[in-house]
Amino acid sequence: MSTVLEQIEQQIARLQAGTVRKNVGTIRTVADGVALCDGLSEVMYNEMVEFPGGTIGIALNLTEDDVGCVVLGDVSGLKEGDEAKTTGRLLSVPVGKSLLGRAVDALGNPVDAKGPIEAKEFYPVEKIAPGIVVRKSVSQPLFTGIMAIDSMIPIGRGQRELIIGDRGTGKTTIAIDTIINQARINRVGLASGDPKFRPVYSIYVAVGQKNSNIVRTMSALEAAGALEYTVIVAAPAADNPANQYLAPYSGASMGEWFMENGMDALIVYDDLSKHAVAYRQISLILKRPSGREAYPGDVFYLHSRLLERAARLDGKGSLTALPIIETLAGDVSAYIPTNVISITDGQIFLETDLFNQGIRPAVSVGLSVSRVGSAAQVKATKQVAGKLKGELAQFRELAAFAQFGSDLDAKTKNQLDRGARIVELFKQPAFNPISIELQAATLWAMQNGFYDGIPMNKVAAAAASLREFFANRKDALLGKIRNKAALDAELEAELKQGCNEWKPTFSA
């Protein structure tokens, strides 16, 4: 009862019987989602400005003569002469675990019709990235569940790894598979009761996408049981460009809450190309000088300050970022792609040709890199996958040479055969992430010749069959691999026995 009385007293105190001071201005023009205001002499950059009817804007252009405010919401109720007043607050979004399983807009308002979100804390949308001293180097793996990536382009917690490729090459699928895999690992880890286990929470930021795509993504996450560990921040194509501009920063704030509270989070920005386009639109309407490809001069800073917020902090948690960039005709040397490539700690490049050839995920091993590298790999993966990248590079060289139809020696034929089998092995269906222990088993079998003699077009099926066999009958062995994270002589012997038991069960 005393708490109730305290609440009432607080409400009364808020009425502020004293004089209230506010700084105001007048709308001069409203067009294309931007209100130009006179006055507002004390407005700060990025401050929230309130218009009649509770409409909120952000002051983005502070010039000598006027203030350009990007309106977040419906501009149809605003007109010339309306009063605008400063709020003294920067834009903030709700953060916390109450957002998990929910879909929100760029301002943190729920859009999934599941009721209000009871958030206890709010973080500012724009925040300075952590400094150098508070960071820790990336050494913990973040398993995507995609064999081609976990074995050759490993990602660590706190890393920024760009996913780049043309339209329809599977960029979003890789991101969704990663989120689904984190949920799977979370369930297994939390069920094990291991006090050292750290779950990874995911944030998926959809910028400028079709609403149907966002719904499809949510359905895929829900079907895989991943939605309960995920926050969806939706700024679809129908949203105004201001919301599309803010959405990645809002998502970063939500991720930072996990990071600063000792937890690990993964954030996917899908995609930053559309984010840059939305920012270009806002900048041009604000009459800011345009540069290359009509982008404003600070388009690099747009992405650098966003991606620098992903980090691993000493004594706290981590935020891993998977930004997505869409290229046109495979041109990675375009303006925005090169900007983001230079910011991130590596890229996963997806090629249309590989996709059309049926190699999915269509990862171009030659052009993809992880600058963190094996520092983010468990020993088991290093043992079985250490030489794969080199073998595939040799295979690609020889494959180009072999096209000329000359007679090949036995060694070359062996290398070509091995490379082709590795390529087949890495084919993986969508929304089907593979655990790291099964990946280790699959690759160990390949390194020890258990797929030799199997027709090339059956290799992928053989690998799937082996994984099913081990999942159903060798669960204890998989548990040992998962816990030890390395293959010692005992485990290798058990793997050999398991593969020998599997081989007769698979008919090519």
């Binding site: 409400q11 009425l15 004293g18 209230v20 001071r21 506010k22 130009l36 002499s41 010039t63 009459k287």
Partner: protein, 130 residues
């Protein structure tokens, strides 16, 4: 939409020439207008509009528009003007404007700043909580 460009620059220059001891001088404003009429600079209408906006802003900075409801003694307006002058460090002239919608209390506007202590604003705050 932008007011940048040569017309704005000229208007700003003319505005600076209209100030005497930091305040708008009606004589100088007259001289500026006569000059514009004589020389008719390019985009003269735009120049004059921008000039008018700058002069209006400057006048509003040095004036306290005191909107009130109910009975208030004339000395109260002087006191408010003195308080505003002390606050802003320049001479502020009071301009009382009766506004019955406030019900009771005052609303003082100096430039972009509004100081309000009226029943109308308190009712607005209550409405926001309902």
């Amino acid at each position: 939409m932008s007011r940048h460009g040569k017309a704005t620059e000229l208007a700003r220059t003319l505005f600076k020439l209209s100030l005497e001891d930091g305040r708008i001088s009606s004589e100088r404003v007259g001289a500026v207008l006569a000059w514009v009429e004589r020389h008719m600079p390019p985009r003269a209408t735009a120049v004059l509009r921008e000039y008018k906006r700058l002069v209006e802003e400057e006048i509003a900075r040095n004036r306290a528009v005191i909107e009130f409801a109910g009975d208030i003694s004339p000395s109260a307006f002087e006191e408010i003007a003195e308080a505003m002058s002390r606050r802003y460090g320049r001479s502020i002239e009071p301009v009382p404007v009766p506004r019955p919608e406030l019900i009771a209390g005052v609303r003082v506007r100096v430039g972009c700043d509004i100081f309000e202590n009226s029943i109308f604003s308190q009712l607005g705050i209550l409405r926001a909580f309902s």
